[in-house]
């Protein structure tokens, strides 16, 4: 069966996506993401191999052990407040990007990033048009 280190898990759902036997269950509400690893008897270690956080290991079946379960509150976007991702995922992305990019936009949801980009591009066009027309 699968053992989970909840201090390493980032809540990304890779394991659930790659599991061929649907043994890793996910439930997501507006507020939180919950993952439960069923007592798995398959001879398969795809989830372990493909965990980006290396949070999973295979251990012998133990019928008395509870099925591991973790839940992550979703972080709210700085701009619109919509909850969009577990905090450990955002922290990991922020740490992976070069400081020179000052990646504080990680804390804005993708929809707000798109809106900002559209507004920036439009602002440039309008400014250029004003310059041309004096």
């Amino acid at each position: 069966m699968i053992r989970v280190d909840p201090s390493l898990c980032i809540g990304c759902l890779s394991c659930s996506n790659v599991c061929p036997s649907q043994n890793i269950l996910r439930t997501e509400t507006v507020e939180e993401r919950r993952i439960r690893w069923k007592r798995c008897r398959e001879e398969c270690d795809l989830c372990v191999e493909l965990c980006p956080a290396r949070a999973l290991t295979l251990v012998p079946i133990d019928e008395s052990a509870p099925e591991p379960e973790v839940s992550f509150p979703l972080v709210g976007c700085r701009i619109c407040g919509r909850r969009y991702a577990p905090e450990p995922m955002l922290r990991r992305v922020e740490a992976a990007l070069p400081k020179s990019q000052s990646p504080e936009w990680v804390w804005d949801c993708p929809a707000c990033r798109r809106r900002a980009e559209a507004e920036r591009t439009t602002g440039e066009m309008v400014a250029a048009r004003r310059r041309r027309r004096g």
Partner: protein, 145 residues
């Protein structure tokens, strides 16, 4: 090759969105955004030189291949880190990542071929030429249009 947008020409018809969805099995990579009454802006992957999505990917599913930021679906686990790492919010994940592949294997990106307003182009020089001819027209008409 990357592609370029002349948003002065974009008419907000969303043909690029539809064209992209058509050739990518209903999961498109373009979104047309409307900014007040002043403009419509098609948003898609910039194929960044230093691609954050590729930096965030743990399995090398996203990688630079010349100017393109390429995607290998076989390596993707759908973790969604790339979507969170994209500064423009144009990579999305639905058990697997979806992003612009510049219509790999086609002579040109389908959105570019489809755009009825000629707002999209793979030719950066075209935008420069258009800007120069606008300037020339303006000069011929006494400095103002």
């Amino acid at each position: 090759m990357a592609f370029y947008v002349d948003i002065r020409r974009c008419i907000g018809c969303r043909s690029c969105e539809v064209a992209c969805e058509r050739v990518h099995g209903g999961r498109g990579h373009v979104q047309v955004h409307f900014v007040g009454d002043s403009a419509s802006v098609p948003l898609f992957c910039h194929h960044c030189e230093e691609a954050s999505c590729a930096t965030a990917c743990s399995f090398g599913a996203l990688f630079k291949e010349g100017e393109r930021t390429a995607f290998d679906v076989e390596k993707c686990t759908g973790c969604g880190l790339c979507s969170l790492a994209c500064p423009f919010g144009v990579v999305w994940t639905d058990k697997i990542a979806h992003k612009c592949d510049l219509c790999d294997g086609r002579p040109e990106p389908t959105c570019v071929a489809t755009c009825p307003a000629d707002a999209l182009s793979t030719d950066f020089d075209l935008l420069a030429r258009r800007a120069r001819s606008r300037a020339a027209r303006a000069a011929a008409q006494g400095g103002r249009r």
